[in-house]
């Protein structure tokens, strides 16, 4: 990093007012104004009714399904994502570049297309649905289907957080541990895992947050039965279609609070994780 000379106090480059103006205008009008309107609307409802709405059995059930499925999807991605990151960071094999590119498919593929594809795969007569049915497992129109859709759309987060950290681990520390007599499992537990743990947590937190808000992919596969396979985002949508704006505002605000809390948590985790990497240099 070049150190800027101490005598430079004036802004040298032009365009600050214009750039800042455009930035604040866009953020204010496009992002903050709507979110503010949403919060105002739910303040309008009054505390008692707000509590009534979010503690109604159907809302509670929707949030429970959403959280549990998001948790399941995040756990799957923690394991599979770690495996993918490990394989991409540490091994060379034919097709590695293609595998690396494939990891981004869930981000690039529109959620509606992903939902359509997953619903078809897991349908009663689908490629996966038919063999699973023989085993007595039904994925489509159940919470398992929701978990599958969430796991698909949030797949890249853990990989992309963990992969660069794994690539950065110096062979010397592993070698040192080895010469001291540690077996591989011990080296992984005591040397490698602590280094990637913050990145893994940050990836999980991003994936969980995204899973909570996922909509497009889920509605194709979930069946959307109230109190069984109905997610919070869909319930918001249904309340809107019923012109029940108070309920829609309350549920959306609760989802917003969850998302912002997770955003803060992720930022803290990333700061921790950057410190860790900084210390390793």
């Amino acid at each position: 990093m070049p150190i800027s000379p101490p005598f430079r106090t004036r802004r040298v480059l032009p365009g600050f007012p214009l750039a800042m103006g455009v930035t604040l205008a866009y953020l204010g009008l496009i992002v903050l104004l709507p979110l503010l309107a949403l919060v105002l609307k739910s303040l309008d409802i009054g505390w008692d009714q707000f509590v009534n709405i979010i503690t109604s059995p159907r809302t509670l059930s929707a949030f429970r399904v959403t959280f549990l499925c998001a948790l399941g999807a995040t756990l799957f991605n923690a394991v599979y994502g770690l495996g993918l990151a490990w394989v991409l960071a540490r091994y060379d094999f034919p097709g590695k570049r293609i595998l690396d590119a494939l990891v981004d498919v869930p981000f690039a593929l529109p959620t509606a297309v992903a939902g359509l594809a997953l619903a078809t795969l897991f349908a009663k007569n689908g490629w996966f649905g038919a063999p699973l049915a023989e085993l007595g497992i039904t994925v489509i129109f159940t919470p398992i289907g929701i978990t599958v859709a969430m796991a698909f759309t949030t797949l890249p987060f853990v990989v992309r957080q963990v992969q660069p950290v794994l690539e950065d681990i110096s062979p010397d520390v592993e070698e040192a541990a080895f010469t001291l007599g540690a077996p591989d499992s011990r080296i992984f537990r005591s040397v490698i895992f602590p280094a990637i743990f913050p990145a893994l947590l940050a990836g999980c937190s991003l994936a969980f947050s995204r899973a909570l808000g996922e909509f497009g992919a889920i509605i194709f596969i979930a069946g959307n039965r109230p109190n069984y396979s109905e997610i919070a985002a869909l319930l918001t949508f249904i309340r809107l279609e019923e012109y029940d704006y108070a309920s829609a505002a309350a549920i959306a605000t609760l989802l917003l609070v969850c998302a912002l809390t997770l955003l803060m948590l992720t930022n803290l985790l990333q700061a921790w994780h950057l410190r860790y990497v900084g210390r390793a240099d």
Binding site: Y80, A108, V113, A114, L155, F215
Partner: protein, 296 residues
């Protein structure tokens, strides 16, 4: 300036965890097998189903009037939204990376908000600004301006969900590059505009292209936010992702898959561009090296 590192001499048999052939084969095999089920199968099923009734039916499905209209609406939305997003991304990156001001971290967090907020929230929130029962609803109604359940709402929802796309590609790169090039141009007598066109833009062109392509993919594929605000009016405010859902619920699965191939191809192109940019763009490699861990 970094000093060029000289690789130290290493004994060839350095020990690394997981390098035993059995472990290696097990991990690579397990990951590839899972990837086949989790990523390759969903991508393939789209194309296989779309062509399952033959090429002629596929072409006919794409020629369908409602599908054509949905495609046009999706392209139009991208034409409107992507340039605005590029302008915002450049402005935000310029303000954040070239100047110091109080609240900079807060500003960066605000730019990132649309990433963590559900698209459904974006749609509902817009409704409470421009809808009949929203903040500006009565005023808009009186002025006979229609925003909700019309094109402007689709544009606004797309602008919301894609807000960070260009900015987050530019910010780390411009942070690494610093302002020395721009200051040199100014000291040689270039105007601010000239400096921007001849120095800044060429420096960030790959990141800009990449950000714009990601933004485009998201705009064309956005479902949740648009489905709340568009009103889903067939042949009027139905974008391609909404049209796919409509066809699917009409039990026209082959038609839905035919429309889906357009968006899936866009996704494949986006990923290929990403791979190419990663490989050839030195700026991106530099960012990756210095800003680890990057990612999403």
């Amino acid at each position: 300036m970094d000093f060029k590192r000289i690789k130290p001499y290493r004994t060839p048999a350095i020990h690394r965890v997981g390098d035993r052939p059995a472990t290696r084969a097990l991990l690579i095999g397990g990951v590839l097998l899972t990837t086949f089920f989790v990523l390759i199968a969903p991508l393939s099923v789209i194309f296989i189903e779309a062509f399952s009734a033959g090429m002629a039916v596929y072409a006919q499905n794409l020629k369908d009037g409602a599908t054509q209209h949905a495609l046009w609406l999706t392209v139009l939305t991208a034409i409107v939204v992507v340039p605005i997003n590029i302008a915002f991304g450049i402005a935000a990156a310029w303000a954040v990376t070239k100047f110091n001001f109080r609240g900079k971290n807060l500003l960066i967090t605000l730019i990132e908000i649309p990433f963590s907020v559900s698209p459904i929230i974006a749609g509902v929130a817009l409704l409470f600004v421009y809808g009949a029962q929203g903040l500006f609803g009565p005023a808009l109604d009186a002025a006979d301006v229609k925003i909700m359940f019309a094109l402007p709402a689709i544009f606004l929802a797309s602008l919301f969900v894609t807000a960070p796309f260009v900015a987050r590609e530019l910010i780390p790169l411009m942070q690494v590059q610093g302002s020395d090039d721009e200051e040199a141009a100014l000291s040689l007598g270039a105007s601010g505009f000239r400096m921007f066109i001849s120095v800044t833009l060429p420096n960030v062109k790959w990141a800009l292209v990449y950000g714009a392509i990601l933004c485009n993919a998201r705009v064309m594929g956005e479902f949740g936010a648009v489905s709340v605000v568009s009103g889903n009016i067939r042949g009027v405010t139905n974008t391609l992702p909404l049209h796919i859902e409509l066809l699917y619920h009409d039990y026209n699965a082959v038609g839905a898959f035919a429309a889906a191939t357009l968006l899936a191809s866009l996704a494949v192109v986006t990923i290929i561009v990403r791979a190419v940019v990663e490989r050839f763009d030195e700026g991106r490699a530099e960012v990756k090296k210095r800003m680890r861990p990057g990612g999403h």
